[in-house]
């Protein structure tokens, strides 16, 4: 018994006219998705070369969902993306070399070597770094929204979760608090249908995770996460609604996790047919086709973009590889913050 609305897909540029995207924006979306995938493909290589310690997570197949939401955020909105959302970091403008540096445990990584893989975020871009205990950042995003509300700022917080993490109490408490106070927060659920090896049917009892929104007093929407423009449209709508005081929305973006939970996982438990079906729905391929159909992209500009992306990634990789590892003397630095790191001690 579904409760949430299912978003109708975007078909033509007209559908997104009120979303105010021009050609440049549309090509930028494309570029962002390519960079996102490129980072993770190169990451695989680095990992197998032994240059990335620990583990390595990707969001292959989630590029459209991530980039679509991030594109709908305004500059001073904030977000708490998770490990499938490299596209969010790229779209917000995170320096790519620092992402590689992060993976390789370098001092110039976004977590300065203190944390690894996708536990990264550039706070200056309004992004807050995730932790492993998902969805621990959901209440944090709600807190950001609370601050915006108290200060009456037209800003929105975007809180990401996966399909598995939605089972934890943090999700419930966060959404409940947000619903009670109608906070300016949008909840994004990256439902890639598998939480490690656990399929949706073993993760929740409702038809859609988006159905839960009603339990908290707000709207839930199920969206084809492989369709970047539909994602964008729904995200844009939800974010602006929040900004206008309309309270939270829960967007469930459905995709398939195209690779294992992490690099060590071959995902044998995912049925072949499902993989094949979603390969056909690959968000980047789909979007490229759409761009060409809508005459925003031709062969030449596609090639140019490809070359440009490749160069960007190569340059970034080189810079990261040349950057230093942290010194052991830095181990105990930063456990505590100093007062100087706060903006001002106090103000009226």
């Amino acid at each position: 018994m579904a409760i949430a609305r299912e978003a109708t897909p975007v078909s033509s540029a007209a559908d997104i006219k009120d979303a105010d995207l021009d050609r440049e924006d549309l090509l930028q979306i494309y570029r962002n998705m390519l960079v996102t995938r490129g980072i993770e493909e190169r990451g695989h290589i680095l990992y197998r070369q032994g240059k990335i310690p620990g583990s390595f997570y990707t969001g292959r197949g989630n590029e459209g969902a991530a980039v679509g939401v991030a594109t709908a955020m305004r500059a001073d909105d904030v977000g708490t993306p998770i490990q499938r959302d490299m596209g969010v970091h790229v779209t917000r403008g995170t320096e790519v070399w620092r992402i590689f540096a992060q993976y390789m445990g370098r001092r110039d990584g976004l977590a300065m070597g203190k944390d690894g893989n996708i536990h990264l975020a550039d706070f200056r871009l309004g992004l807050i770094a995730m932790v492993s205990h998902l969805p621990a950042l959901m209440p944090v995003a709600v807190g950001c929204a609370l601050a915006f509300k108290i200060r009456k700022e037209p800003r929105v917080a975007v809180a990401w979760s996966g399909d598995g993490a939605m089972a934890r109490g943090d999700a419930h408490e966060a959404m409940n608090l947000a619903g009670v106070h109608r906070l300016p927060v949008v909840f994004i659920c990256d439902n890639n249908q598998y939480a490690y090896s656990t399929p949706n049917r073993l993760e929740f009892g409702v038809d859609h995770l988006a159905d839960r929104a009603a339990a908290y007093g707000f709207e839930g929407v199920v969206v084809d996460g492989c369709d970047v423009l539909t994602v964008y449209r729904e995200a844009h709508r939800a974010i602006e609604k929040a900004r206008q005081g309309g309270g939270p929305t829960l967007l469930e973006l459905v995709t398939l996790r195209m690779e294992g939970h992490a690099v060590h996982d071959d995902a044998f438990y995912v049925p072949r047919e499902l993989l094949e079906a979603y390969t056909k729905k690959d968000p980047i391929e789909r979007y490229r086709r759409w761009l060409k159909e809508q005459a925003f992209l031709d062969e030449e500009s596609d090639d140019a973009i490809t070359v440009e992306v490749k160069k960007l990634l190569n340059d970034a990789m080189k810079r990261a590889e040349d950057s230093p590892l942290p010194d052991p003397s830095e181990l105990e630095v930063g456990v505590y913050a100093e007062p100087e790191e706060l903006d001002t001690p106090h103000h009226m």
Partner: protein
């Protein structure tokens, strides 16, 4: 200077900071309309409005987690766990997110979590704990345990201004029982600075929180009994703690009793005792003694609770044992 109860001092500190800094807001269960389970925030909703005095759902994770988010956005939130015992529901957030955020990614998390703690009134296992030990073990958090009204206010103000997550343990058995002089106007107390509650020469009692008063009574009793001169060091903050003051006192008296209301194994006293053994070995004229609650949940029935909590006569006995060594 004015004489205030411990509770009034805390209330004053909160109120003054909220007046002074618009970024400070409160969130917790029943703190608004009800004025707080212990009435610490009585009148606050009326003065500051519901945007800054937020009655939250029963969601410790969301309460503390949202404080982290708001703090990252530049606010100075002060949340309340209605009883310190309930902080276990937010344990994950505190140690996973709040404590580690600055270390990992360089962003300060200036939040304060107020925790009415401690027993002595048949509160039972879930309304009487002193959970500072769990959090002392987590790098990135600061822990504050004031004993006097002046320190309660000064340390609370300091906590609100500190750029780190601070757990503020208000011993609820001191709320109305203890009165003291509180400086007027702006008053802060530095973290990591112990206070010599009582000067002495024969042995040192290192303690904090409500046990400061138990120690005081015991010290008076032994002074009357046989002239033993007991020094009492009130740590005031557990993380960071004033190691030097403790070592100085041990150097002076060479006999030391570590006293806390929290349970025994891996209570913070173990850390103090180990440190004294490591760094003051050649100043010791007796083994380091610890007096704590035993390793049990806090019992409910009065005779059991009395047996659980260190009493004045227990402290006297421990002092006597040390003196005789």
């Amino acid at each position: 200077m004015a004489t205030k109860t411990y509770l009034q001092a805390i209330s004053d500190g909160l109120r003054e900071e909220m007046r002074r800094d618009s970024r400070v807001f409160l969130i917790g269960e029943d703190i608004g309309v009800y004025g707080g389970a212990f009435k610490v925030t009585q009148g606050f909703l009326q003065e500051f409005g519901e945007d800054r005095v937020i009655d939250s759902p029963l969601s410790e994770t969301a309460i503390v987690g949202s404080c982290t988010g708001a703090a990252l956005m530049g606010m100075r939130p002060v949340c309340e766990m209605q009883f310190s015992d309930f902080v276990s529901c937010a344990f994950d957030h505190l140690v996973t997110v709040a404590a580690k955020q600055h270390y990992r990614v360089g962003t300060p998390v200036p939040i304060v979590v107020r925790l009415p703690s401690g027993g002595g009134f048949s509160g039972g296992p879930f309304h009487s704990q002193n959970p500072e030990g769990f959090f002392a073990h987590c790098p990135g958090l600061k822990l504050v345990c004031p004993a006097t009204p002046a320190d309660a206010k000064g340390l609370l103000v300091q906590a609100i201004r500190d750029p780190n997550p601070v757990l503020f343990f208000e011993h609820k058995h001191l709320y109305r029982r203890i009165k003291g002089e509180v400086p007027d106007g702006e008053h802060t107390v530095e973290f990591g600075k112990a206070r010599v509650h009582r000067e002495g020469t024969d042995l040192s009692v290192i303690t904090y929180g409500a046990m400061v008063y138990t120690a005081e009574e015991a010290a008076t009793a032994v002074a009357d009994k046989d002239g033993t001169s007991v020094e009492i060091i009130d740590l005031r903050t557990v993380t960071p703690w004033d190691k030097q003051a403790v070592l100085d006192s041990v150097a002076k008296t060479s006999k030391v009793l570590v006293l806390h209301e929290d349970t025994h194994t891996s209570g913070f006293g173990a850390e103090i005792a180990a440190t004294i053994a490591e760094e003051a070995f050649e100043n010791l004229d007796a083994p380091v003694a610890r007096l704590t609650a035993p390793d049990t949940p806090v019992p409910f029935s009065p005779p059991l609770e009395k047996a659980f909590l260190p009493q004045v006569e227990d402290v006297v006995a421990a002092i006597d044992r040390l003196s005789a060594y």
